[in-house]
Subunit: 112 residues, 2 copies
DNA sequence: AACACATATGAATAGAAATTCATATTTATA
DNA sequence: TATAAATATGAATTTCTATTCATATGTGTT
């Protein structure tokens, strides 16, 4: 999921897209993003809010951090994760629009 | 990959995001999108251009169609697939920007 | 209606990514 | 410096998705 290394090894530039998408193709990661959208928080806080085991979060946060969708800073013993809103929020908004515009209609069409 | 049915069964609205991303998290699908960006074409034409087996393309095109990323129309024996540029091109552009702005710097940081 | 061309479909398998769980590392504090 | 708290890591396993390949379906032509 960390595509930086891939790029370095001379892989096609197109790879970045599907690696980026792959990184987000997961319910937990979307839940994390949704939570961090409200406010930054630590791993244990996330664990509590999302009722999710800690190492699972650490793994997910690692790959989100890998492609800079989240940032982290140390605060005492805690590591505070925050959302890089600049990229992901516009994308989610485009998807919302897409759903409204294309998917409801298409859905009916498919049911026929 | 077809999330319409999921929505119908009362799943959370958040699912749509990761299902959408999941649908794009694949090299072949990005290649298809890249090709259809140039011009619409049939499955066999795609097969030729991308040096890819036909049923593989049909499967990929099916899921891309499911979430309205591509459209299709019948023309004689052929089915002509075209890209719904409205959604995907802006998203790819955002990802490009993201890479340039965040990933190169971050990449260096990770290597230390 | 038989045929060929074009595409779709289904089921088995292969492949990739997420999860789990035990343990290591990091950070602050007594 | 020993300890506790917070997080990260690795490897085994499970779960999910893509691929493969054989075959079915659809479309136009003779």
């Amino acid at each position: 999921m960390c595509y930086h290394s891939l790029n370095d090894r001379g892989y096609s530039n197109m790879n970045k897209y599907y690696l980026f998408f792959g990184n987000l193709a997961n319910k937990l990661k979307i839940d994390i993003i949704t939570e961090l959208k409200k406010s930054p928080c630590s791993v244990l806080e996330l664990s509590d809010k999302l009722k999710t085991e800690q190492s699972k979060l650490s793994h997910s946060l690692h790959s989100l951090r890998c492609c800079s969708i989240v940032n982290v800073k140390q605060e005492g013993k805690k590591r505070i994760y925050s959302l890089n809103k600049e990229t992901i929020l516009p994308i989610l908004k485009i998807i919302d629009k897409h759903e409204n515009k294309f998917c409801k209609k298409h859905c009916r069409a498919l049911k026929k």
